[in-house]
Amino acid sequence: MFKISMANAKSVTVEMPEKYMEAIERLKKREKEIKKENLKVLPREEVIRELKIREFLVKDVKISDNTKICNNTLFIDSSLTRESLKINQLVKKVTFDVIYPENRDIYTNTIMDIIPIMAKVDGKIGEGITHILDGVVVFLTGTDEEGKQIAEFGSSHGILKDKVAFNMPGTPKNKDIILRIDVVIEKGTGMERRGPLAAHQVADFILDRIREELKKLAPEEAVKTHIFKDVRRKGMPKVLIVKELGGQGAMHEKIIMPSEPGGVRGGKSIIDLGNVPIILTPNEVKDGGIHSVT
């Protein structure tokens, strides 16, 4: 404490002892240290692997006599409806059609899955390069031969616009075009694992044909390129994300790490894996490492 109080002084000289000066210096130094402590040190980020996703814009989808992607239009060979039947004998009929955003006021069978159209161009799922079509998603819908919806705990059949919560992470955006693949499977197999799985395999076969074309697109045609990184931040609290997903049987099943993003072929069923926890990297999930049969 240092205090001077005076009245009518002619001349005043104050000499400060050295220890006071030192105290002031110490205070200043401490202030600086506090500032430093409050400065957030950015964690050291270690990038383990990278995934590059190139987005290609689709403005129209047409059923045609061959499968190709050109001028922002996706053409699909109509004969795939017959050809895909050979994939699994439980599937009796396949049809597909294109639903534009303004035509969503139509009837749909139960929606078994909504699938993005993605293809691996370089590397395996979770790293390398992936192509994705923006502006179109696939709906897989279906019944059995007796017209029974392929659904277990609640069916989403009805008027499409009322049966989907659009703009959610797992549903199309307002302006997306829907490519609907509708299947009819053998009667009574809807409640067995093999029935719904057959439907998904057929859709995957059709998607594989589109993927072949998607892989051919030139990088410069991409409208956007995203880079996703699997990073570790040493010194920060370690957090694990756990996803408990359906693994009980028919329509409660996931296919883990298929050959193509969001595909079926090459993957293993979570049920066959014994439902035990399996580690996926963030990029593996991002790159379609989980296919939903649920």
């Binding site: 139960t110 705990f153 694990l240 994300i241 439902n275």
Partner: protein, 156 residues
């Protein structure tokens, strides 16, 4: 009960998964990975997989877990078992699931559960993806988890 249209995660959802996107860009945490665990039919098997999850988290030495369960009803038997296995090991947990009219099982470790019942109907609405995780749910979950981890860190 089970996984219905409103609570199921489509293949597209997994690709856009907000849980992963929110967690991976948060510079305050070190996201070690995503554990995918199936929900078996049989009760005994549910406890079998929950035990494995507990051991996995223990081996990884994680400071916190955010757990999501798809569907509701019997799926919450394993959900509760997972949280118990983690809680017993002193690992802070925040859960995300469709709770609707409440969970069929509960335990002392289930302090922080975020309900995904967006329709507020307490039942399966049969509208695809209506009651699924959005970004705001995960932001909230992560905020709670960070506070829990901080509190626990202070006790050490």
């Amino acid at each position: 009960m089970g996984v219905g249209p409103s609570t199921k995660e489509t293949t597209l959802h997994h690709v856009n998964d907000p849980m992963i996107e929110v967690a991976r860009r948060d510079k305050d945490i070190d996201l070690v990975g995503v554990a995918v665990v199936g929900s078996p039919q049989d009760n005994e098997e549910k406890f079998y997989v929950a035990k494995r999850l507990g051991m996995l988290a223990e081996a990884l030495g994680v400071d916190g877990v955010i757990i999501y369960a798809e569907g509701f009803g019997n799926q919450h038997v394993d959900f509760a078992a997972h949280i118990e296995e983690l809680g017993k090991r002193g690992i802070p947990v925040v859960g995300l699931t469709f709770a609707g009219n409440g969970l069929v099982v509960e335990n002392e470790y289930m302090e922080d559960i975020i309900d995904l019942d967006k329709a507020k109907e307490g039942m399966e609405t049969e509208i695809v993806c209506q009651n699924t995780v959005e970004e705001r749910d995960m932001i909230k979950a992560l905020k709670i988890l960070k506070e829990k981890m901080k509190r626990r860190g202070g006790k050490k």
